[in-house]
């Protein structure tokens, strides 16, 4: 895909988000990251807990204010100067699916009301009957049935609740869905069901996904491109096949070497690569966003780039 402004849905530039810790110090959860997401692609964001991947998602959807940097969505920069109406219209095109499907559903609302809320946001004048038929349609899209509409969240299993969460996100007719660890709370046999559902929806509705997860094998499967985050920075970004075949950054290497595979023979001969940022570089060396090959970027110091050249040429 050619890089033109037309097929870029979301552009994040120099985004920084810091949180106050105590009175005088702050902690940079996200530290000067830039990336863009194409229309219709699935962009994976991986990293350890605390690496800033969830914060990135939250800043994009507006749950947290960015400290610095810009977010451009569908050609418009999202910030406070935007007229309220336009801001609202733009933001309703972004929806989020959360990790714990039980925590994000109101236990005192029926499924019908939960999903109807999203529909009413866009079309407040819809009649009760129209809403009902829209909700039934959405439930069927995510693999539930219309009988489920009048039940409460506690009557469902984890996988079904995640389906409700997806239906609610779809109710607003988004272009872009941020899925923050959507399957990590689910059982193995259910995970594949939800991932297949997400992929089907993407095909049918031409959705774009930001898929945040720590399960690298699932991220590789679902994503077109993957960014690896470590302590608030994106350290490597590439097409998913390329990233897994040819990881450059030592942190990516160590992450990949730690994924347990369901194959006893491979596991017995596994060599793990340990990574400790301090072993590799001192903090003051400037980091450069270096292009390795077609759309494969790595954050390295000049010294490391020089060391790379021979093997790369």
């Amino acid at each position: 895909m050619a890089v033109t402004e037309d097929n870029i849905l979301l552009r994040v530039e120099h985004l920084t988000k810091s949180f106050k810790v105590g009175k005088n110090s702050s902690f940079k959860a996200v530290n000067d990251i830039s990336f863009h997401i194409y229309k219709g692609e699935t962009f994976g964001l991986v990293g350890q807990s605390g690496s800033g991947k969830s914060t990135t998602g939250k800043v994009i959807i507006g749950l947290n204010e960015p400290t610095a940097g810009t977010i451009t969505f569908m050609g418009t920069t999202i910030d406070r100067s935007l007229p309220k109406q336009q801001h609202r219209a733009l933001c309703s095109k972004i929806q989020m699916i959360f990790q714990d499907p039980y925590a994000c559903l109101d236990p005192r609302m029926t499924v019908l009301d939960i999903i109807a809320e999203g529909i009413l946001y866009n079309q407040p004048k819809m009649s009760r009957d129209q809403i009902k038929s829209k909700v039934y349609e959405l439930l069927e899209t995510v693999g539930l049935s219309r009988e489920h509409a009048n039940r409460y969240p506690h009557e469902f299993s984890g996988g079904q609740r995640q389906r409700i969460g997806i239906a609610r996100a779809l109710a607003v007719e988004p272009e872009f869905i941020i899925a923050d660890e959507p399957i990590s709370a689910l059982d193995v046999s259910i995970q594949a069901q939800i991932v297949n559902l997400l992929k089907r929806l993407q095909r049918e509705k031409n959705l774009t996904f930001l898929f945040i997860a720590h399960d690298l094998s699932m991220v590789k499967y679902i994503s077109d491109r993957v960014a690896v985050m470590e302590s608030g920075r994106i350290v490597e970004l590439a097409k998913s096949d390329e990233l897994y075949r040819n990881p450059i950054h030592p942190y990516t290497k160590s992450l990949l070497s730690a994924i347990p595979l369901p194959d006893p023979r491979t596991e017995r001969n596994r060599r793990r690569i340990h990574y400790n940022a301090a072993d590799y570089r001192n903090e003051n060396e400037p980091l450069i966003w270096h292009l390795i090959s077609d759309e494969h970027w790595v954050l390295l110091t000049q010294r490391e780039i020089d060391a790379l050249q021979p093997s790369n040429a």
């Binding site: 193995v188 046999s189 995970q191 069901q193 991932v195 679902i222 347990p260 595979l261 194959d263």
Partner: protein
Amino acid sequence: MEKILEVKGLKVNFKTQGGTVQAVRGVDFDLCAGETLAIVGESGSGKSVTSKAMMGLLASNGSIVGGSIRYNGKEITTMKEKEFEHLRGRDIAMIFQDPMTSLNPCMTIGHQISESMIKHQKLSRKQAREQTIELMRLVEIKDAEKRYKQYPHQFSGGMRQRIVTAAALACHPKILICDEPTTALDVTIQAQIIDLIKSLQKKLDIGIIFITHDLGVVANVADRVAVMYAGKIVEIGTADEVFYQPAHPYTWGLLASMPSMSDSKDELWSIPGSPPDLINPPKGDAFAPRNRFAMQIDFEEEPPMFRISDTHSAATWLLHEYAPKIQSPLAELRQRR
């Protein structure tokens, strides 16, 4: 090899408002010294309940309603609580999923590790302290002397799991039950903890029961694997047998639904539906409604364990001599990859 634990026909029920939940419905397995048995299953399959029954830690509404658990030939299901106290923590120890909930936030970690030494081995405080620091070094905690006096909140998740492991090993147990010890940890930390448990096992010759839902972790740690579904073991065998020649359709589904690291972007194989309600377990094979290969008999009669080899058996009618020979979907998937 010497069998240190034998579980036969174990049944555990829980009384709830909705009715009696048959959480474990007849489980048989044994464990030898120095080996690792992994129990795999989804939530609600009864894997954790089985381990809690072995530790005598069932919730107050739960009870063992049948079967036996023998540790070194001694029956422990009928043991009095006083007697059990001598066993628990000394001979059989356990590590839980969330290390923070099993540590006391108001006690220094040194105190928590040495507690069981003082109780079970009647060591003096000074001796216990020395041994504790040694244990902390064994589980690779740096600056053991300094950290001895620190509190749990001063440690990271991975470090806390090391501390819990040290506390579990304090009295040199013969059996260590690990209930999802790495689920709450990041992949890189998970790898460290697993390596630690494996190296300790080699040094101390402990029998480990490793409970998890992550087949990747199982492939790494297990000598033998038991797959549980709806309160029963549906397949048991050596790791190679279960991973490379799985016989039960549920095992096929579990293995096939994992995205492999290959380049395939085909739709993932998935197991349709969701697990059964164990208040009224279905008639016949509990997996039948989700089984693409289910036959009439699966809905009527429960399959017995069919023996495939000395170490490998599975409970599915597909192994009956009159059943049609079905190629596992895995073989096809593996070829495609």
